[in-house]
């Protein structure tokens, strides 16, 4: 019987509303006891000192790209390096998007991703299945089979589903199989050649603009179609304030629609693209201060209930080119937590419990992992736990990332807050250097 005691931390469990100082005892990979009235002192338990730290359910990121399978692609990430990156950032569970090569449109490939994740045995690796074959939008994917094979959601991420009738079919299948649909909200005909937010800056730089309408028009269409179907509909990585209004209105009619926000869309504006800085090239693009303010309003009122990084590693050479040719996206897992804190807690939008809910209970519920106990702390539940020092100050250095990706616009930022230790299934899967004094010697040797 292996026992691990996390002593003296601020235990935050958004699911139960618990927010109190206390001890968490883990026995054989499960939470054996949570004690906030007095201290636990079980014999033979190894002790982690969590004083001054937050002890919360392991974080979930339902939107990452680990680039596996990767036939014909460079090894810009693997499930191994991605898993290491996840636990280094405090994430115990991630969902891999299906825009791989080949795309995850076949149950075999869903099984492959899950199997690779088990072999790497760091974070819990899940897969999202395609909505259409090859993500091409023409032929519906075998959604029931993908779900049966373990897919926890459906998406053509990287592309939106453009055809209206196809969108209806996919949403019906998603509803029938009790899963969720995650839309990459981008009308392709409005974004041909587009590289950054449409506006005076794009015009000055001579780059083709990406209008907010390209996002909003697809969301509006989707919500109209889904009004009758009632599938769990999730709009990924929102960039436009107008999108928030659309989702808010749909939610007010009872439609199960949710929104997602990423660190870069909450902290950076299109101004980061000036000087043709390709590290700031994103899909959807960085927008304006006004959009950031409206995204935060959506977070404050629950319209946007999920935080996700859209962790998107790229080889250096695909960013070291001209802006229009450069790849979209940034890596996010290892710096997301302090960036969310800066955008949302430091700015007074949320407190720690409400922010952690957006990284635990809400994403777990969307993808149906709440049934397995993911995203919450409860006696008898799986011991996926993240220990966070909310005050630790550090500098973001992509060269120190476990991810193979270095493409990050936050390089050199001084931030506050960091996952000190990440526990998956009761086992310490990551800890940062310098906290050895908090950890029992046996864990360090392991």
């Amino acid at each position: 019987m292996e026992s691990l005691l996390i002593r003296g931390g601020r235990i935050i469990d958004p699911a139960s509303g618990l927010d109190a100082t206390g001890d968490v005892l883990i026995v054989d990979g499960r939470i054996a006891d949570i004690e906030t009235g007095s201290t636990l002192d079980p014999p033979q338990a190894e002790v982690i000192d969590a004083e001054g730290c937050i002890v919360c359910p392991g974080l979930l990121d339902i939107h990452v790209h680990f680039r596996d399978p990767h036939q014909g692609q460079l090894h810009e990430e693997t499930i191994g390096s991605g898993s290491a990156s996840a636990v280094a950032g405090g994430f115990t569970t991630v969902a891999c998007m299906p825009n791989t090569a080949p795309a995850l449109d076949d149950p075999t490939w869903i099984g492959h991703v899950i199997q690779r994740g088990r072999e790497r045995d760091l974070a819990r690796i899940h897969a999202i299945g395609c909505g259409t074959i090859g993500r091409k939008g023409r032929e519906i994917a075998p959604i029931g089979e993908l779900v049966a094979a373990g897919a926890i959601g459906i998406s053509d991420d990287g592309d939106g589903i453009e055809d209206d009738a196809m969108m209806r079919s996919v949403l019906e299948a998603v509803h029938e199989h009790d899963t969720c649909f995650m839309q990459h909200c981008q009308v392709p005909s409005m974004t041909r050649g587009a590289a950054m937010n449409a506006g005076p800056l794009a015009t000055r730089l001579g780059l083709i603009g990406w209008p907010v309408e390209a996002e909003e028009a697809m969301i509006e269409r989707d919500l109209t179609i889904n009004a009758d179907i009632g599938a769990r509909y999730h709009a990924q990585h929102l960039s436009s304030g107008g999108s928030v209004d659309l989702i808010r209105a749909a939610r007010s009619t009872g439609q199960p629609a949710t929104g997602e926000a990423s660190p870069h869309h909450l902290l950076l504006t299109e101004a980061a693209c000036d000087g043709y800085d390709t590290s700031a090239k994103m899909n959807p693009p960085l927008r304006t201060e006004s959009d950031i303010a409206r995204l935060k309003e959506g977070i404050a009122d629950g319209t946007i209930s999920i935080l996700a990084t859209d962790h998107a590693p790229h080889p250096a050479h695909s960013k070291a080119t001209d802006f229009a040719s450069a790849s979209f996206g940034i890596v996010g897992l290892e710096c997301a937590l302090p960036l969310y804190k800066q955008a949302l807690i430091d700015d007074g939008v949320l407190d720690w419990p409400s922010m952690l809910a957006m990284m635990t209970t809400a994403p777990a519920a969307l993808v149906g992992l709440d049934a397995s106990g993911a995203g919450r702390l409860e006696t008898g539940g799986i011991a996926d736990i993240t220990i966070i020092d909310p005050d630790l100050e550090w500098r973001i250095d992509p060269d120190a990332f476990r991810s193979k990706g270095r493409n990050c616009p936050f390089t050199g930022w001084s931030v506050q807050g960091r996952a000190l230790a990440t526990i998956v299934g009761g086992r310490l899967r990551h800890h940062i250097e310098g906290i050895e004094a908090r950890l029992p010697g046996s864990l360090l040797q392991g």
């Binding site: 005076p200 800056l201 015009t203 001579g206 780059l207 603009g209 043709y276 070291a320 080119t321 001209d322």
Partner: protein
């Protein structure tokens, strides 16, 4: 006495950062080159023993030849690397091609490319001066300079308070962007004219106002501005940057400058065009070859401004 600050970056990537004094100083240098071109003064030797590379990844004849003539008039040797013959067609990146040329020891690189920001990108990777000869839709600074020089000659002095119309495919035009920076910097007011599909409203707002800059206004009606402008700059419709959409079927009727429209311009109002001209579309042959046309003057001035730029960047480079 003003001193040149435009050379401080070691490159000429655009006219965006250039001050009024920079621009006027460059024009003065260019004017001093004209007697050399006319044969009234001996050839210059500023760049004797230097090698200038023309890295042209987009089709261009006159700009490349103009740079070549300018470099040779300064005593430099010129090598051309063209899109179709260079490694670019084998998938080698712009940066790789440029760093290889730089490694061969050339003294300056003139870059023409289809990517906005391409010249700036090259400048970050080589340690010799880079001159932007047109990067995508972004800027074409020597074109902006030669247009400014031609207008200054025409008006016999300051452009302050003059109203210059730039007409046509503004959205695709690096020439329009460079001209917006330079014309407003010297105090000229610019009126941009074109159909909405080729002239987004954003063009009215990216040039900062104030600090002595001229104004920028937008019009979608050429006939409404004809009697209030001091010069007409007609742009080429860039079919290669459109998928067929964006160019209205009635473009010539609404925005083409033909003899009838030219007759409504004020006396002596000149017509410029960066070339090559789509004759009969944005500009009729009569006007292109008529008394208002400064097109050939622009071509001559182009060599002079490129001499001034090459001498300013490469001769001071040690």
């Amino acid at each position: 006495m003003t001193t040149a600050t435009w050379t401080s970056s070691g490159h000429l990537l655009g006219l965006e950062g250039l001050t009024r004094d920079d621009l006027l100083l460059l024009l003065d240098e260019a004017e001093a080159c004209l007697p050399v071109l006319r044969g009234d003064m001996p050839a210059r030797t500023d760049l004797a023993g230097r090698v200038v590379a023309n890295l042209f990844l987009e089709n261009s004849t006159r700009t490349r030849v103009s740079f070549s003539v300018a470099a040779r008039r300064l005593g430099a040797q010129v090598v051309d690397l063209l899109g179709s013959s260079s490694s670019a067609s084998k998938g080698e990146s712009l940066v790789d091609t440029a760093t290889n040329i730089a490694a061969m020891g050339v003294d300056g690189i003139v870059v023409r490319c289809g990517a906005s920001g391409g010249a700036a990108l090259v400048s970050e990777h080589v340690d010799v001066p880079v001159i932007n000869a047109g990067d995508g839709r972004h800027e074409h600074p020597t074109q902006g300079l030669l247009d400014l020089m031609t207008l200054r000659q025409h008006f016999g002095g300051t452009l302050e308070g003059r109203t210059i119309a730039i007409v046509g495919d503004i959205a695709s035009s690096r020439v329009a962007r460079s001209n917006l920076w330079s014309l407003t910097a010297v105090g000229a007011d610019v009126v941009l004219v074109g159909p909405e599909s080729l002239l987004p409203a954003d063009f009215g707002s990216f040039i900062p106002s104030g600090s002595g800059r001229g104004s920028v206004t937008i019009s979608h009606d050429l006939d409404a501005v004809l009697d209030s402008v001091d010069a007409m700059m007609m742009l080429r419709i860039q079919f290669e940057r459109h998928d067929g959409d964006g160019i209205p079927d009635d473009y010539r009727q609404r925005f083409g400058l033909d003899a009838a429209r030219a007759a409504r311009l004020g006396a002596g109002v000149p017509v410029l065009h960066p070339g090559p001209i789509n004759r009969g579309l944005e500009l009729s042959a009569e006007v292109a070859d008529g008394p208002r046309s400064l097109v050939l003057r622009q071509v001559t001035n182009g060599v002079a401004v490129r001499m001034a730029v090459l001498a300013g960047l490469l001769a001071s480079d040690g």
